[in-house]
Symmetry: C2
Subunit: 337 residues, 2 copies
DNA sequence: CATACTCATGGAATCGATTCCATGGAATCG
DNA sequence: CGATTCCATGGAATCGATTCCATGAGTATG
């Protein structure tokens, strides 16, 4: 199957390659007849310009790279969708790279994206160093999303990791909880660190118990959420409320509660992160700390477009909001052994 | 920031472009010294070959396209992940296209993929016609996944849409249900059609009620699942069990039950499709009809590689399996008004 | 009427890598 | 030792589109 080139179109239209190219890319210096002939020929032959050849000549590929930990995580799935749709509206394709929570794979994808000469990259970075340095030094426009590396000066869109957690802790203490367990994210990520700090600040501010044993360090994966729930519930003096730092760990933790016959709500208050569909299906539905993921994705693309255009946009924060649902009812003292 | 080309590497190594290229692409006819010099120069300069230029000369791009309805659907999220990981192991990048349940966007992405000269496409097609025809006529290797278009001869990997549903209906009737409502998928998709047919066959085989009013036609989206649940539960003689044809509609339907205070399990038996995390969190966890999504994704890639290599693999079916959980307990007759 | 100017056009150069082909030196064989 | 083969190498062509530049036709201006 021979591919049709612009030469074929030009021949069919009786003009030169140059004229054909001008017509097809909307250059003003073209005559009525040339336009008609070329467009007709292109349509008839089903001409599809070779993107490789075009990108080689221009230095733009109309493609951005999106580097995420894992699309199976609903948070990043939604983010991927938002970014892709927004990029599309600017005429850009999105090249996804699933780092798969793995620095080596992230490096590999950075390599591919640089080879592909993407016009920009939106990344939720893991670990600093490796090819991430090269990416930044390469001069390719980069915007960080969800996570930040403070070793690197890069415009970013991150969730507000403070307000939501403060509100959640305030809410829980107002409902009578003093022992609030926390399943934290990895301290190698800014999101993990900031949320843990906010939790500690909030405990101090509200006067709730601050035992170090109430904190479990997870890795943003479901399995570690499950482990965290087990560890915290097995404490001699277990928490009466749990707060988890992301959706996957929340899923793991809720699973453990179900296994053990612990009724979320009456037996144990629970606050999850991210307002994903599933949390609304659980009975009672979960109280969550939510961020507008769509806005985050859109904003990241807008900022990247600005950087590509030569601007240097300021970093942004997406506000976090506590959505109170059935999983955090009034705490009944008498239930405490 | 000037990009480093192979010319720069060649100059730095004191050889010609041709030799540099041979060394870097592992051509056998190279001397020890040339190899050392070129590799050192390439490393020192941080040379990254321009994928556009390479693809232009070779006719391979080492890229496949993946055309899906929506990555936010956990089923397709998992599928995307499986495909991407498998493709990576073959040294291929995956270019995602989110058709967003929208034929126009699908067409747009097919266009881009053809322009990008992807080496092959894995697609869960929606609607026949449009650019899908052009894609197939273009000679680019294509494999269908999840869905099939019977107007087109294309190797495919599809779920077994019969066994699981038959088992589910058998299971429900064995537990005493006679009125089994069905929230069907769109009849424009093979998956939607086949599952509905299986449901009807299974009803006939088990002697359960076959009223047409027990069937609601949805569109594989959460909202239509909710609408389906409302419609079916509002029947004068409502079903005692519900079966939904995909995960999103299941989510919608479960949401309606929660809203109305209908206890899944005791009040209404429920069988969902796809074994996604969320269904295990619901209390009681949902009985589901599951397919091995990972296997589906891997097989699709393997088949595409075969087509690219000139083979014509036979189509495959991934077995469906009923996983019985708490949402389908024994039906208690006395509950029926 | 001559000069300047606009404007569509085609030829040729270009982007960066791969690959064909010719060349020259070393190794091998009778 | 001469003829043949082998092999690393560099020059040049190539992939398909865009774009610079020169050209010539047509129009406006003094």
């Amino acid at each position: 199957m021979k591919q049709i080139t612009i030469k074929d179109v030009a021949d069919a239209a009786g003009v030169s390659k140059a004229t054909a190219s001008r017509v097809l890319s909307g250059h003003p210096a073209t005559s009525q007849e040339a336009r008609k002939a070329v467009e007709a020929a292109a349509g008839r032959l089903g001409f599809r310009p070779n993107a490789q050849a075009r990108s080689l000549r221009k230095t733009r590929t109309q493609t951005i790279g999106l580097l995420l930990p894992d699309v199976r995580n609903p948070f990043f799935g939604d983010l991927a969708h938002a970014v892709e749709q927004r990029a599309r509206s600017f005429g850009y394709m999105t090249l996804f790279g699933n780092a798969n929570e793995n620095v080596a794979q992230q490096d590999e994808y950075i390599d591919v994206m640089l080879s592909q000469r993407v016009d920009g990259v939106i990344a939720a970075p893991q670990g600093d160093g490796g090819n991430l340095d090269q990416l930044l030094r390469s001069g390719v426009p980069v915007v960080f999303v969800d996570r930040v590396l403070d070793t690197m000066e890069v415009p970013s869109v991150s969730p507000d990791n403070s307000t939501g957690i403060h509100d959640a802790v305030k809410h829980l203490t107002a409902r009578g909880h003093r022992r609030i367990g926390y399943i934290a994210g990895p301290q190698s990520t800014s999101t993990g660190r900031e949320r843990l700090r906010s939790y500690k600040e909030a405990l101090a501010a509200t006067g709730a118990d601050t035992d170090a044993e109430l904190i479990f360090l997870g890795d943003f994966q479901a399995a570690s959420g499950a482990e965290g729930a087990r560890t915290l519930l097995d404490l001699p003096n277990p928490p009466t409320a749990l707060l988890a730092a992301d959706s996957l760990m929340s899923i793991g933790a809720v699973g453990v509660c179900n296994e053990r016959g612990i009724a979320i709500g009456p037996d144990l208050a629970f606050v999850a992160h991210d307002d994903i569909d599933a949390f609304n299906l659980i009975n009672p539905p979960l109280t969550v700390i939510a961020h507008d993921i769509d806005a985050m994705g859109r904003l990241a693309v807008d900022m990247l477009m600005s950087v590509i255009g030569g601007g240097s946009p300021a970093s942004n924060t997406i506000p976090g909001r506590l959505i109170v649902r059935g999983s955090t009812p009034e705490f009944e003292k008498e239930r405490q052994s």
